[in-house]
Amino acid sequence: MTLNEVQDRIVEDFSMFDDWMDRYQQLIELGKDLPPIDEKKRTESYLIKGCQSKVWLDAELKDGKIYFTADSDAIITKGIVALLIQVLNQRTPKEILDVDLYFIDKIGLKENLSPTRSNGLVAMVKQMRMFALAYQTKLNS
């Protein structure tokens, strides 16, 4: 699936839920299902500070694609982290740099990615793009 096909699939999955409560329930399930990040990476150097909930993120480059691992101490945040990983994992740096993450808005979770929310997600997306930029520079050099 292309990156946007994954986004569209998530939008379709979430369109089944009329109620915000069900959408959040789904996020909670996703959050619970995301495997926790390696305990060794639950440290300051992988931490993205979001004031309230913490997010840990790491990325590796294998065969020209980026593999993300991430975690959060808050389940809703972790659910959104899981969605971002579904979309952005195993993509090339260029794909990640070019992407428009429209699915967040379409599934009614826009407020979670608003810069005024102190949940670390905005910083996380920024950090994912920073990884992409760094690895792209590395690939081109």
Binding site: Q25, C51, K54, I76, S118
Partner: protein, 406 residues
């Protein structure tokens, strides 16, 4: 006297709205209170009809504006029963009031090797300015601890105070734990050692009658927006003799008597501490807010808020897995809690979707979080316009959160 809450609620237009299709239940009064229509009217009228800079112009509007500002000072004086209106300094908020004292008192009275005492339950605003002072002066910051119920261990105060202690800074009401500290007793104890006391009244001013003369407090800091006024206006009460001795804080217009390049002399109180154009419209709004609060009845409002607190506490405690953080005997209408191991952010997000506004996080009191070994709490803080029905909704919300995350 019992309050007519539904009538009171009509005075606060913001309360009558839906959030995500649910009626708003506003439980974030510890962060800021809502403003009654009369305050909005005062502010609006001032902008529309009186606005002119104070203490300067000869013209009619400036005169009226100055009069309104000085009347506001008198209203504040009377509200906290200060001896003189010159002891009432308008600031931008409680944080500014504390910074003013930390700087000016510090410049005048604190020297290398001296000691400053704060408590472990202070808001960062009543820690950091003192730390900055201690760094500047090479003074020592000492901490009065609290026990696991959230009560200050007053017996430690005698050990902490030494001949080097210059000032003690303690909060009236903990914004996280809800604890109402026995400030009169604390002040008396400190005064036995000739140590002046600053009380952070950001939360305290909306919890019962404040009488600064009865308390014999040296400094009392107030945030206007936490007592139904607008943001950007606050008050520092200070004893005249101390304020007179203190070096000014900020320099600028209005705080001077004469200026030349050789020497500037400073204005008298309270203007010495009010550099620049004051927030005179905010001051007028605050005066209206205090008058409104008085018309409701400060004691009646406090009693009702205590009923809300007791009701919420017993209802929340009855839910298995809910842990209340802060169990002092005497509490203001602030309740911090955790549900099982559920992250406060998760709880807050779900409650928000149910139209319930709470605060989550460390509430600018990281040392309190460290004390309990937690990252944050969910905090519901009540005002007299809240209802028992709203608390029932909070309780339902908490049960729902438990169900969703459990």
């Amino acid at each position: 006297m019992s309050l007519d809450i539904s009538k009171i609620r009509q005075d606060f237009p913001i309360l009558n709205q839906s959030i995500y299709g649910k009626p708003l239940a506003y439980f974030d009064n510890g962060a800021t209170t809502q403003k009654p229509q009369v305050v909005l009217d005062t502010i609006n009228h001032f902008h529309n009809s009186i606005n002119a800079n104070i203490h300067r112009g000869v013209h009619k509007l400036s005169e009226e504006s100055t009069k309104a500002y000085e009347e506001a000072r008198e209203t504040v004086r009377s509200f906290i029963n200060a001896k003189k209106s010159s002891e009432i300094i308008f600031t931008s908020g409680a944080t500014a009031s504390i910074n003013l004292v930390a700087f000016s008192f510090g410049e005048t009275f604190v020297h290398e090797g001296d000691e400053v005492i704060v408590s472990e339950m202070e808001h960062h605003s009543n820690i950091v300015p003192w730390q900055m002072l201690c760094e500047r002066k090479k003074a020592i910051l000492k901490v009065l601890p609290f026990d696991n119920n959230g009560e200050l261990i007053l017996s430690k105060l005698d050990e902490l105070i030494t001949p080097k202690t210059r000032i003690l800074a303690v909060t009236h009401v903990s914004n996280t734990l809800g604890t109402v500290n026995p400030i009169k007793e604390i002040i008396a104890k400190a005064h036995q050692h000739n140590v002046p006391v600053l009380i952070d009244g950001a939360q305290g001013v909306k919890h019962g009658v404040i009488d600064v003369q009865d308390l014999d407090v040296d400094f009392y800091a107030i945030a206007g927006h936490k007592v139904y006024g607008s943001t950007g206006i606050g008050v520092l009460y200070g004893k005249e003799n101390l304020l007179n001795e203190m070096y000014p804080w900020q320099g600028g217009g209005d705080m001077i008597a004469t200026v030349s390049f050789e020497k500037t002399t400073y204005n008298e109180l309270p203007f010495k501490f009010e550099a620049g154009t004051a927030n005179f419209i905010g001051a007028a709004g605050l005066a209206t807010a205090l008058e409104y609060y008085k018309s409701i009845g400060v004691e009646a409002a406090t009693d009702y808020e205590t009923e809300l607190l007791n009701y919420a506490t017993s209802k929340l405690k009855a839910i298995e897995g809910v842990r209340i953080i802060g169990n002092a005997k005497h509490k203001a209408a602030i309740i911090s809690f955790l549900i099982e191991n559920i992250h406060p952010y998760d709880t807050g997000m779900i409650l928000d979707k149910m139209g319930i506004a709470v605060r989550t996080g460390n509430h600018c009191t990281q040392p309190i979080m460290a004390h309990y070994g937690i990252d944050g709490t969910v905090r519901a803080s009540f005002a007299f316009y809240n209802t028992f029905e709203e608390i029932d909704r909070l309780v339902e919300g908490v049960k729902k959160v438990k169900e969703m995350f459990g």
